[in-house]
């Protein structure tokens, strides 16, 4: 098993005819993901190396039975595209786009929550990879193999770093979920932790957080109450100065809120081992899995 994406995934890509959209759609297909279609208004009827393009999501869903969407359109069109995919009946929407206006994200989040039909991953995220099954997004799949470590992260490259160290020690992943670095992520740590807890293949969970917000603190509470599997944590941004946005729109220490120290302490307070470097995280995971084996 795995979570969110697998061999049942039927992917439709919004913005498939754009440069990045084309490149990553084909890369995802090459990996084995079932890319059934794409949407670009005005380019319906064309195809991208055999992948049919539609004008609207509703047309794409009718024709292809797509159940997953990946959004690659520029920020000013992204909220609209997410809402269009949801309205068409897509159940899982992965938004890669960075820089979506905060009020758009608020509107999208609350609409999806109210309707209760679709799950949004991202925005501003690298996507989801279930090694050996499906890759939806921009995660470089070559560094990851099938295995029993579930990873959920606010950062893309940091995930690659940790996954790579794990791979060097001979461990693989059930699923890697990048929830994104924006202030209003569609899916939070807690949602993904619950899925990993229920996933038979996942035996250990790595949660990779960073400064800003309180998602890690809430995750710590959730882990204490609902997660029986071992969890290893990492928090980036111990040296980040207050008031500075560290690349991700959501990565900012505001006054005394959102510091890496507070997050690490919240996790450790609930029994989660927190590594101080990505290498240490991988070593902790290896030792916990080794002990279980």
């Amino acid at each position: 098993m795995s979570i969110l994406v697998d061999s049942n995934t039927r992917l439709c890509v919004s913005g498939i005819t754009g440069r990045e959209g084309t490149f990553h759609s084909l890369r995802n297909r090459e990996y084995g993901t079932n890319v059934v279609g794409g949407v670009t208004p005005g380019k319906g009827g064309q195809d991208v190396e055999g992948i049919p393009v539609f004008n609207t999501f509703s047309e794409a869903v009718r024709a292809t039975d797509a159940n997953t969407a990946m959004v690659f359109v520029p920020p000013r069109f992204a909220a609209d595209s997410i809402l269009e995919a949801e309205e068409a009946g897509i159940e899982l929407i992965v938004a890669i786009t960075e820089g979506i206006p905060a009020h758009d994200e608020l509107r999208v989040f609350n609409t999806l929550r109210k309707n209760g039909r679709a799950r949004l991953i991202g925005p501003n995220c690298p996507g989801i990879l279930s090694p050996g099954k499906a890759n939806v997004g921009i995660i470089p799949a070559t560094f990851f193999s099938e295995g029993n470590v579930g990873v959920v992260s606010r950062s893309g490259t940091l995930t690659y770093q940790i996954g790579n160290v794990l791979a060097q020690r001979g461990f693989g992943n059930s699923t890697i979920v990048g929830i994104g670095g924006d202030p209003v992520p569609g899916t939070d740590f807690i949602d993904v932790l619950a899925m990993f807890e229920d996933d038979a293949e996942t035996e250990l969970i790595v949660i990779c957080g960073e400064i800003g917000g309180d998602a890690e603190e809430r995750a710590a509470e959730f882990i204490a109450e609902h997660v029986t599997k071992p969890v290893v944590g990492y928090i980036a941004g111990f040296t980040a100065p207050p008031g500075k946005t560290m690349g991700h729109a959501g990565a900012i220490v505001s006054g005394s809120h959102g510091t890496a120290k507070a997050k690490a302490e919240a996790l450790e307070g609930k029994g989660v081992r927190v590594g101080r470097t990505p290498t240490e995280v991988a070593e902790l995971a290896v030792s916990l899995l080794g002990a279980a084996a």
């Binding site: 206006p101 960073e210 809430r218 980036a236 111990f238 040296t239 008031g243 560290m246 470097t277």
Partner: protein
């Protein structure tokens, strides 16, 4: 940038005698532009100056005192003549403690305007030079309240707050007397309703005669928040003016200060607001990086850092600090960086004379390590750096990247195979402790 917390030295024992109007230099609190409302997580953006915030307020019908912008003593005097006396001269800088620093003064007449304007223009308020004055009619103050709309990222909804304890640091109020702040979340799909205003006003315990005008003002502040795509709208103090006992004129409410943060990502929809960005307080190196499209934050140390991806760069800063070093910057070269972008980034990093060594930490996904290597080689040709570079390349095309670097045999470039090893090495080099003579290339062990 601005400080994030500053306690305002004001007597907590506010006098509650509302019969006695007080005349004060407006902007009651020594406003701290970085002050954060309680238990909220701010979303970053473009911070406006007080007068810019008030102009946005006026556009949406939020009552504000009449005022004029002045950039010279002459303009200030003309503005004051126009507004009438007494009036208030207010320094326009994005930093707290303006009043305490002498940047807000009440002027009774023309001579006092001349005197105060001359003193405040050019004044240095905690590192920022005053170039602009806001000349404003003085307000008679009966009571000082606090109101705000903030982007609550935890609740994923706008949070509105109202308190009768205005004119002081709201975080202090929250710590000492949390019940003094009425709060509610507004469903962003529904928007502000009149009952929201009534509920906040009654729960905060505002005077009965201003329940309606305060509710109306809250509705307009919410409108500013949504239609201007703000992430913070704060009024401290929100004042109740003195009514007139002669003709029975009702008391009114006004925003005596304005703190507004706009969402940078939404500026494409607000071309009028895009020009409000204040770059006078920006660090020149940060501005240089921004002009080159790089995500850059200046730090205090002496080790230049370049990486790809915000999380990895943040992590790199931490690992360098763990190894005993002190990073000079955060620089995310982003995904898919081409060689020119890397060359350009090296120039930005080296424009800081404090930098004694540079660490490249690349884990290539979209980014190709060979492009990074080409960029670095080009940078050496163009800039001829005098400090050592430690380079760690992993991921897409890493072997090719390392081979390019080996072939170029650049002076002072050391390749390390792990992130931790690279961090240790760059810390040694910055401290001048390296055992390796300069100019030696290490064979990659990975």
């Amino acid at each position: 940038m601005m400080p994030w917390k500053e306690h305002v030295a004001r007597s907590p024992g506010r006098d509650c005698d509302q019969a006695r109007p007080r005349l004060r230099a407006g902007g009651g609190r020594d406003s701290d532009r970085g002050m954060r409302p309680p238990r909220c997580n701010k979303v970053p953006g473009v911070d406006l100056l007080e007068y810019q915030g008030k102009q946005l307020f006026a556009r949406h019908g939020v009552p504000v005192p009449d005022g004029r912008l002045a950039v010279s003593v002459e303009e200030a005097m003309a503005a004051a003549d126009d507004l009438g006396y007494p009036c208030v001269i207010k320094a326009q800088v994005q930093i707290g403690g303006r009043g305490k620093a002498g940047g807000i003064k009440l002027a009774k007449d023309r001579d006092e305007v001349r005197e105060h304007a001359a003193a405040i223009l050019g004044m240095n308020i905690r590192g920022l030079t005053v170039h602009e004055l806001w000349v404003e009619e003085a307000s008679e103050i009966d009571a000082e309240y606090y109101a705000s709309v903030v982007f609550d990222r935890s609740a994923k909804a706008p949070l509105m707050m109202l308190s009768t304890k205005g004119g002081m640091d709201i975080e202090e109020v929250a710590a000492e007397d949390p019940d003094a702040i009425a709060k509610l979340h507004v469903d962003p799909l529904l928007g502000f309703q009149d009952f929201h205003g009534r509920r906040l006003a009654f729960e905060a315990g505002v005077d009965q005669d201003v329940v309606r005008p305060i509710g109306e003002m809250l509705g307009k502040l919410y409108e500013v928040f949504v239609s201007e795509e703000a992430t913070l709208v704060e009024v401290n103090p929100l004042i109740v003016t003195s009514g007139s006992s002669d003709d029975g004129a009702a008391r009114a409410v006004r925003a005596l200060d304005a703190k507004v943060t706009l969402d940078e990502n939404a500026m494409f929809r607000h071309s009028d607001n895009a020009q409000l960005r204040d770059i006078s307080g920006e660090d020149p190196q940060e501005r240089m990086a921004k002009e080159r499209g790089l995500t850059f934050v200046k730090l205090d140390g002496d080790i230049g850092i370049l990486g790809n991806g915000a999380g990895l760069v943040m992590s790199t800063l931490d690992v360098v600090a763990e190894a005993g070093g002190s990073p000079a910057n955060f620089l995310d070269a982003g995904g898919g960086s081409k060689a020119e972008a890397i060359t350009s980034a090296v120039e930005v990093i080296l424009s800081n004379p404090k930098v004694k060594a540079v660490l490249f930490n690349i884990f290539g996904g979209i980014t190709r390590c060979d492009e990074v290597a080409r960029g670095l080689i080009e940078a050496f040709h163009q800039v001829n750096p005098q400090v050592p570079f430690v380079v760690r390349l992993d991921g897409t095309n890493d072997e090719e990247g390392r081979r390019l670097l080996a072939d170029a045999s650049l002076p002072n470039v050391i390749v390390e195979s792990t992130m931790d090893g690279a961090a240790r090495r760059v810390v040694e080099l910055a401290a001048g402790r390296s055992a390796e003579p300069a100019g030696v290339m290490e064979a990659p062990s990975g």
